[in-house]
């Protein structure tokens, strides 16, 4: 398994499980050392929601890559809710589930939890294959 999926921003620290064609689960840790917390925000550090969405996209891409090969990119997201702040010390459990797929694309739904509580939910993650 590749533990560096998602890179520095749409980070996935560990892939927990991948069921090709069905779903995938991964972890992202949120340490207090992240420089982003200096400015986001000085008095109240919060992991930007856009980065959680990025991690869900990276996990969706990894699920598709393992089943179908190539490289996949998040092209669109719809009906995304950010319900709770994610702060230093939290561990995000990210899960994506395949809803539909075609030759060039796929639609998944995704969810991020901290301690079992949903913090972010994306009803639609639209992925496109960008390399074979």
């Amino acid at each position: 398994m590749n533990d560096a999926v998602g890179g520095r921003w749409a980070t996935l620290d560990r892939i927990v499980s991948i069921e090709p064609g069905t779903r995938a689960v991964a972890l992202r840790n949120v340490p207090n050392t992240l420089a982003i917390f200096d400015t986001h925000f000085p008095r109240f550090p919060v992991l930007p929601g856009v980065l959680i969405l990025g991690s869900l996209g990276a996990l969706a891409g990894e699920l598709l890559r393992q089943e179908r090969g190539g490289r996949w990119e998040l092209r669109a997201a719809a009906r995304v809710g950010f319900r709770h702040f994610v702060q230093p010390g939290d561990q995000l459990e990210l899960a994506v589930e395949l809803s539909e797929q075609s030759e060039a694309g796929a639609v998944l739904k995704g969810e991020a939890k901290v301690d079992g509580r949903v913090v972010t939910r994306a009803r639609e993650l639209r992925m496109a294959r960008i390399a074979s």
């Binding site: 890179g7 520095r8 921003w9 749409a10 420089a35 982003i36 200096d38 400015t39 986001h40 925000f41 000085p42 008095r43 109240f44 919060v46 930007p48 929601g49 856009v50 980065l51 969405l53 990025g54 996209g57 990119e73 998040l74 092209r75 669109a76 997201a77 719809a78 009906r79 995304v80 809710g81 950010f82 702040f85 390399a131």
Partner: protein, 148 residues
């Protein structure tokens, strides 16, 4: 890195609209590589539009409030952005209340649309809870100088 993705607010109308700018440079330290080419991490493009909305809220409320992202109805990424590009974030308010605001908009890179988003809903929270008033005022002065 400093997560300040707006360099200037070029134009704004209270509680109505905002147009903001960010220049990108290879000297920044956020680049990620795709097919051997550095690109702006796609989540940053969305964040830049959200931050343009935040500055509109701060300008409109005289720095009393800023925004926390609650939801987005849809967001689409239409292209990659490479070093040297000049980003323009354009946001239009769909609704603006005491507690919440909803904004739709797009981001262009050198005039080409690279992101579109509709109905970005944010909570208006007390700015003092997030950052010191002095620092926010200093930044606001810098960022608004183009619109003076």
């Amino acid at each position: 890195m400093r997560f300040h993705l707006i360099d200037r607010v070029e134009e704004w109308e209270p509680a109505r609209s905002v147009r903001a700018r960010k220049v990108t440079s290879y000297s920044e330290d956020y680049w990620e590589e795709v097919d051997g080419q550095p690109i702006v991490p796609p989540p940053f493009l969305f964040e830049a539009l959200c931050q343009a909305g935040t500055w509109l809220i701060m300008n409109t409320t005289d720095r009393r409030k800023r925004a926390a992202l609650l939801s987005v109805d849809s967001v689409s990424w239409l292209g990659h952005v490479t070093p040297g590009a000049v980003l323009e974030m354009v946001g239009t308010v769909d609704s603006f209340g005491e507690e919440r605001a909803i904004l739709s908009g797009h981001v262009t890179a050198d005039g080409v649309t690279v992101l579109e988003a509709s109905e970005i809903m944010c909570a208006l929270i007390d700015a003092d809870d997030l950052a010191s008033a002095d620092e926010t005022e200093r930044l606001q002065t810098m960022i608004n100088r183009a619109g003076d």
